[in-house]
């Protein structure tokens, strides 16, 4: 009895050591920590400020300002290009499934994307020292791309028509650009994704320095939503075709024109 007990104990103990050693064979990746965008996501989902018609002019001005900055800098298009590269790379990684060896690729890791900016000169040259770059970090796990990615601009120069743009981070921030693109599968196209983009950049537009400290959400149908900070929280304004603005607030949803002349409210939460 004693011998069999000792023997079984020895088997269990040494078996655990062997299995532990096997477990140690699995590589561990220290993924960079993603910034926290939860409050921002929540603000877009459920705006918490009340709309006061008396502040319409001020709100309309804020919407116009963001609209103008996005249009002049073509920032959304610049970011979309980089995001498309990330999706493409993720797709390449997924394609490792079934290639050569028949096994399921279960990955955990991250990617750092450096996009050299086109510069102001024509023809464009991929010269990072002269034209700067956009830097983006994306992480992924066994279930695909993680819902958040972030990055910065380093003296990124490009042109929009005749306009010369330079984007730079504010201070040494490594997450001056933050993007939430949800839990969609890695192979879902960019146009089918809702993108929430938070910026804290400085832009120089034809020599004029402008702060780009705002956030917006790009919807699947191509329209944009802007968050308008108010003293009691945030309002969300959706700018659609035909100069129609849909304003979502704690006290309802309002259909307005560009000057924010609004009709009767619908219950909060109505799209």
């Amino acid at each position: 009895m004693f011998s069999s007990t000792v023997a079984l104990g020895s088997v269990a103990y040494l078996g655990a050591i062997v299995l532990g050693a096997l477990g140690c064979g699995t590589p561990h990746i220290d993924k960079p920590a993603a910034p926290d965008m939860a409050p921002l996501i929540a603000a877009y989902e459920a705006p918490d400020a009340a709309f006061d018609a008396g502040a319409s002019g001020e709100i309309a001005l804020a919407i116009a300002l963001i609209d103008e900055l996005l249009a002049r800098t073509a920032l959304r298009e610049q970011l979309v290009d980089v995001l498309a590269d990330i999706l493409s790379q993720a797709s390449d990684l997924s394609d490792l499934e079934g290639s050569g060896v028949d096994f399921t690729f279960e990955a955990d890791g991250y990617m750092r994307i450096t996009r050299v900016c086109a510069g102001w000169a024509l023809p464009a040259r991929p010269d990072r020292d002269a034209n700067g770059a956009l830097l983006v970090t994306a992480t992924f796990s066994q279930s695909g791309l993680d819902p958040l990615l972030w990055g910065a601009a380093e003296a990124c120069r490009y042109g929009v028509g005749e306009t010369q743009i330079e984007l730079d981070r504010v201070g040494a921030s490594a997450d001056a650009v933050r993007v939430y693109w949800g839990d969609a599968p890695s192979n879902q196209a960019l146009r089918d994704r809702t993108l929430l983009i938070d910026l804290n950049l400085a832009a120089t537009v034809d020599g004029e320095r402008l702060p780009l400290d705002f956030d917006f959400r790009s919807l699947v149908d191509g329209t944009l939503e802007y968050r308008i900070p108010r003293q009691d929280g945030s309002l969300i304004a959706r700018v659609g075709a035909g100069d129609v603005v849909t304003l979502r607030a704690r006290n309802g949803t309002f259909d307005c024109d560009r000057e924010l002349r609004c009709g009767d409210s619908r219950p909060a939460g109505d799209p």
């Binding site: 011998s3 000792v6 023997a7 020895s10 088997v11 040494l14 078996g15 050591i17 062997v18 299995l19 050693a21 096997l22 140690c24 064979g25 699995t26 590589p27 561990h28 990746i29 980089v82 590269d85 990330i86 493409s88 790379q89 390449d92 990684l93 060896v101 028949d102 096994f103 399921t104 690729f105 279960e106 990955a107 955990d108 890791g109 991250y110 990617m111 750092r112 994307i113 450096t114 996009r115 050299v116 900016c117 086109a118 991929p126 992924f140």
Partner: protein, 304 residues
């Protein structure tokens, strides 16, 4: 009392206690007198076997796939696959020979840590190291392989029957550089498996035993880590750091083999011949080949 040796000649019991040199001389003399060198006499000559001091005894045991280590006055083993030395009571260290031809350093140590009645218990650990730079001189980033094994063995001996259970864990780590036109970087991968080996031995005589060895691969896990830089166009570079793992690689997670063999053990020389079927297991590194085939087995070694 007189008994027959495997060479067919009678030998007295006291002869088995004479020194190996004298026994060797007698063996060589017997071979010359026979006038021809049959396979049997060759084996006998190799084994210095005029004295039939058999190995399959209570003091001498087959040590492969069992918990046994060399006992008694014998401290060394030299053979086709292994060389080992007993460095302390119940502790053996050694190396696998063939890997050295491929510039792969190897070492193992076995400790028979427990004897409980008819049971023996041992643990064994092994290490292999292969740096492929020694072949092609590609520099410090050439693929490097490190393999570690850990074995827990238990042997139950009941008269002429002996059964051994072995639980073997193996971890392979490979690290090197990926070299493609648009993809450059370093990769690191691992392959780990857990095998169970059951070895049954029936001692037919003092110098001859039947051995049946069954091997079953319980699991095999692939784990890899890689970092590389992709350049989809002149403006974009993407550095990827990724880990991958999988526990169902190449559909032979449950590989197995069964190999019946005949084992002769004379005073110094040992020979093992067998043919089995299943997934061949690469000795030492414990990697099982995907295809099931006939598996020939040949091993020969000397102990002294």
């Amino acid at each position: 009392m007189r008994r027959l040796t495997p060479c067919g000649g009678p030998v007295s019991a006291p002869a088995s206690r004479r020194g190996p040199r004298r026994r060797a001389q007698r063996a060589r003399g017997a071979s010359h007198r026979a006038g021809r060198l049959s396979a049997a006499t060759l084996l006998c000559a190799l084994g210095w076997s005029s004295a039939a001091s058999a190995y399959h005894t209570d003091d001498d045991h087959i040590t492969d796939d069992t918990a046994w280590t060399l006992k008694g006055p014998k401290n060394f083993r030299l053979g086709l696959y292994k060389a080992s030395a007993t460095i302390a009571d119940r502790v053996v260290v050694g190396t696998y020979i063939w890997p050295w031809l491929a510039r792969t350093a190897s070492a193992f140590a076995k400790w028979r840590f427990l004897s409980l009645g008819p049971t023996e218990w041992a643990v064994e650990g092994g290490l292999f190291h292969l740096d492929t730079a020694s072949f092609d001189g590609t520099g410090p980033n050439a693929p490097v392989f490190n393999i570690g094994t850990a074995t827990l063995s238990g042997t139950l001996e009941l008269g002429d029957h002996q059964i051994s259970n072995n639980l073997i864990g193996t971890a392979v780590r490979a690290k090197g550089e990926i070299d493609e036109d648009t993809l450059g970087g370093a990769g690191e991968g691992g392959l780990s498996n857990l095998q169970y080996v059951l070895a049954y031995q029936y001692r037919v005589s003092r110098s001859f035993a039947l051995v049946v060895t069954g091997r079953y691969q319980i699991l095999q896990v692939l784990a890899g880590q890689t970092s590389f830089t992709s350049r989809p166009d002149d403006y974009t570079s993407i550095e990827v750091v990724a880990a991958a793992s999988d526990d169902s690689i190449v559909n032979f997670r449950y590989a197995l083999s069964v190999i019946p063999a005949l084992a002769w053990s004379w005073e110094n020389f040992n020979l093992r011949l067998g043919v089995g079927y299943g997934n061949f297991n690469v000795p030492g590194i414990n990697f099982m080949i995907e295809q099931r085939t006939l598996i020939p087995e040949l091993d020969l070694y000397w102990t002294f």
